[in-house]
């Protein structure tokens, strides 16, 4: 078959992996809006936005793990919690020993025997804390992932296991009241690595810290997603056993994605603590772990920016609607799950290409069937290549 040179180039062009130009524009716009937000928002809302961004970090990781890898983890709360509690322990110890204090957090003397348990002690050191926040959850995720995925526990089995784990984790935290604060969690922090948390300037800096972390995470995740790793991950999602015969270990691939998602969740949890001023078992239990997924699904689970946008939308909606109409919010939240997952499995992000397609069809432009970009087609996660009718 003969082709003109330009046709060959055009074809090659389409076969290059990576997010499209519109994604980058959207990314830049998002970064811009978030960077400028403090100009228009008051201090309270800046804090709120920072908190929502912390949640969205979990969502970014889930986008890769679930959207690309098909691993539906209902247990991200474990990692969010690990990061959060490690940070909180450090901050408690730092607060307790600031100003010549006893070095023992107040709740320990209230509920316990007034001694700091041995496993808290390393976290007196800020350096150890900063190392532990990524390392501990990654190790946990690695151990878990290696064990579980190697034994080919997958699909619903994995989801249910992860859910049980997060339930067990929350129970453990609640039960170990004297060393974890129990259901009260850890709260009442004054300083964050030497800075007064309560200071408006510091709060703004904290917001920018969170924002930068989110943007870096987005970039890293975007690259991972469109890298060969992303493609293999997709292959593992669709036909796990097949990739084995090509020399990959699907367990390692999935574990890598799981560890990565755990890392992001943990950092999210760690930053959540200074931002929200509290971490407690109810931030990491079964329900919050599932709610993390709602944003991801809403925005588009396998898209570049969908998880962040979706999770921000959900957080904002929850915040603004739940107070005014508590029961209405429950209905709406439930309905969102149903509508988004059932009718819009690709999330709102997939509406964009289909609207564009529709517009093109209406205007009768030629080549409306063209653009079979990989990134577009696989944005629809589960819709089978052959959509069969079923009545």
């Amino acid at each position: 078959m003969k082709k003109t040179m330009s046709a060959v180039i055009a074809r090659r062009d389409r076969r290059v992996a990576g997010p499209g130009r519109s994604s980058w524009i959207l990314f830049a716009a998002l970064a811009m809006v978030l960077a400028l937000a403090p100009m228009v928002l008051n201090q309270f809302n800046i804090g709120l936005l920072a908190k929502f961004l912390c949640y969205s970090m979990v969502a970014i990781g889930l986008g890769l793990l679930w959207g690309r890898g098909g691993v539906l983890s209902l247990g991200q709360g474990v990692f969010f919690g690990l990061g959060g509690y490690i940070m909180a322990m450090h901050m408690q110890l730092a607060d307790a020993s600031a100003n010549g204090g006893s070095g023992v957090p107040e709740f320990m003397s209230l509920y316990g025997n007034g001694h700091v348990p041995g496993w808290w002690l390393p976290f007196r050191s800020g350096v150890v804390t900063l190392i532990a926040i990524p390392v501990v959850p990654m190790l946990v995720a690695w151990a878990l992932g290696a064990a579980v995925f190697k034994r080919r526990v997958k699909g619903a089995y994995f989801s249910i296991l992860s859910q049980a784990l997060v339930a067990a984790f929350a129970l453990l935290l609640i039960g170990a009241q004297t060393s974890t604060g129990g259901s009260n969690g850890l709260s009442d922090f004054t300083g964050f690595f030497g800075y007064v948390l309560n200071d408006p300037v510091n709060q703004r800096s904290l917001y920018y810290l969170v924002l930068i972390v989110v943007l870096v995470m987005l970039l890293a995740t975007g690259l991972l997603m469109y890298s060969r790793f992303g493609e293999v991950l997709l292959a593992v999602r669709d036909t796990e056993e097949r990739v084995r015969f090509l020399g990959y270990d699907p367990a390692s691939i999935k574990t890598a994605a799981f560890v990565y998602a755990a890392l992001l969740a943990s950092i999210g949890g760690a930053l959540f603590v200074p931002v929200a001023g509290i971490i407690s078992p109810s931030d990491i239990g079964v329900t919050p772990s599932i709610i993390f997924l709602l944003g991801v699904a809403l925005g588009g689970r396998s898209t570049f920016l969908g998880p962040v946008l979706g999770s921000l939308i959900v957080s904002i909606a929850q915040n603004s609607l739940s107070s005014a109409f508590p029961s209405f919010w429950s209905y709406l939240e439930g309905a969102l799950f149903i509508v988004v997952i059932a009718l819009l499995p690709g999330g709102v992000a997939t509406l964009v290409p289909s609207i564009r397609r529709w517009r093109r069809r209406v205007s009768g432009a030629p080549g409306a069937r063209g653009g079979s970009r990989a990134s577009q087609t696989d944005a629809v996660p589960e819709a089978s290549a052959g959509e069969l009718v079923s009545r």
Binding site: L48, S109, Y195, D199
Partner: protein, 394 residues
């Protein structure tokens, strides 16, 4: 930004400017209760009585001539949400004071917020004590107004061997620490101490243990739903109020039908208020409440404490002639109110209130009769400072 200096790190509060708007004919206050999630069961009733109090006050001319403009928030049974919404009420909605909270977790979460924003929280539920914040008024019972009197009463009845059962969270654990200390000093023994996870419904093992423990009474700090399962299992193993008296500190009137009157009849409770109290104020409170929300509704201790909290704040504001937080605080000491439970008085030192502890017994109508009470309101003592046996506790 400012760094933590060797001086006080936490005193930033003094510099916080309040945004409360006192210029108009209305003054904003905030209610924060869980209307969703697991705690909604209990906290909704508190919201109801708060709403009633606000309406009453508005009908009788408001506070300092200003109508109360209630800003409502849902804590969603989640400490972190409580903290966030409290912050929102104070800084965004600019309320003059906030009323609500139930679990210790929600209070602990809100405490730093009120301290940093220098605002006021009125917390209406009995709790484990060991706390007093300059920005919180605790209108429920301190441990010495509920747990300790219950123990005194049990001692007077000759119960010597106690079996402790509770939900696994802060209040029961701390309450049981107090009980252990009390028992040690008063010649009683605690034969076993058992916990179930919050919401747990499996009591087969615990009741088996109870059967073999030789206990002569149970001190019950179980929360909410778990009581149903506990008392069902309890009853089906042949226990009742005569064979195994049980004193509960978290079962109020509204929980009785759900737990099952058959299971509870004759059992004991410890609170400061019961719907059956025979005071003028209470009769009015109960009948107003029923008129407003329905004849089948009941009133309970936390509801009453919440209702009272709004009036205590009103009195303090009027005494201070200002909504300013610092002025209200300065004028709170000694403020008193003729509450449905009798006279309550604010202790300006520890921010709790003088209340009258009462032991009740569940009657066949599903209400609780007072069978014992202290002769006069008791001074609150959240840290149990005045009790020698409690020295090691805090």
């Amino acid at each position: 930004g400012s760094q933590v200096s060797t001086a006080s790190g936490g005193s930033a509060s003094a510099s916080v400017k309040s945004c409360v708007d006192t210029s108009g004919s209305k003054i904003k206050i905030g209610f924060i209760n869980s209307l969703s999630g697991t705690m909604a069961i209990s906290e909704k009733t508190v919201r109801d009585s708060l709403d009633m109090a606000a309406d009453e006050i508005n009908k009788s001319g408001g506070v300092l001539g200003k109508q109360l403009d209630v800003q409502a928030a849902d804590g969603a049974s989640d400490p972190n949400t409580f903290a966030q919404k409290a912050d929102q009420l104070i800084r965004q909605n600019c309320v003059a004071a906030v009323f609500g909270g139930w679990t210790s977790a929600s209070r602990k979460a809100m405490k730093p917020v009120f301290e940093k924003d220098n605002s006021l929280l009125y917390y209406p539920v009995q709790y484990e004590g060991m706390e007093s914040s300059p920005n919180i008024y605790y209108t429920g019972a301190a441990p010495n107004q509920q747990i300790v009197p219950a123990l005194d009463w049990m001692k007077s009845k000759g119960f010597k061997k106690l079996f402790l059962v509770g939900s696994d969270y802060v209040f029961p654990r701390t309450a049981n620490k107090i009980i252990q200390a009390y028992a040690k000093a008063n010649g009683m023994t605690v034969v076993d101490e058992q916990y179930v996870p919050l919401g747990g419904t499996d009591f087969t093992t615990i009741v088996n243990k109870l059967k073999d423990s030789g206990a002569d009474a149970v001190f019950n700090t179980l929360n909410g739903d778990s009581n149903v399962a506990f008392f069902r299992q309890f009853a089906s193993m042949g226990f009742n109020s005569t064979t195994m008296p049980t004193i509960s500190v978290s079962i109020a009137e509204q929980e009785i039908p759900g737990v099952g009157l058959d299971n509870l009849k004759g059992q004991y409770t410890a609170w400061d208020y019961y719907q059956t109290l025979d005071t003028e104020q209470n009769k009015k409170f109960v009948s107003d409440f029923k008129a407003r929300y329905g004849q089948d509704r009941v009133t309970s201790d936390p509801m009453e404490a919440a209702y009272v909290s709004l009036y205590l704040w009103k009195a303090a504001v009027e005494k201070a002639n200002s909504f300013d937080v610092d002025k209200v605080k300065a004028n709170s000491d000694g403020i008193s109110f003729d509450a449905p439970e009798g006279k309550v008085t604010v202790d300006g030192e520890n921010h709790h209130v003088y209340k009258t502890p009462r032991i009740g017994q569940v009657n066949s109508a599903g209400l609780i009769d007072t069978i014992w009470q202290t002769p006069s309101p008791l001074k609150p003592d959240p840290y149990l400072k005045d009790y020698d046996w409690a020295k090691g506790l805090s």
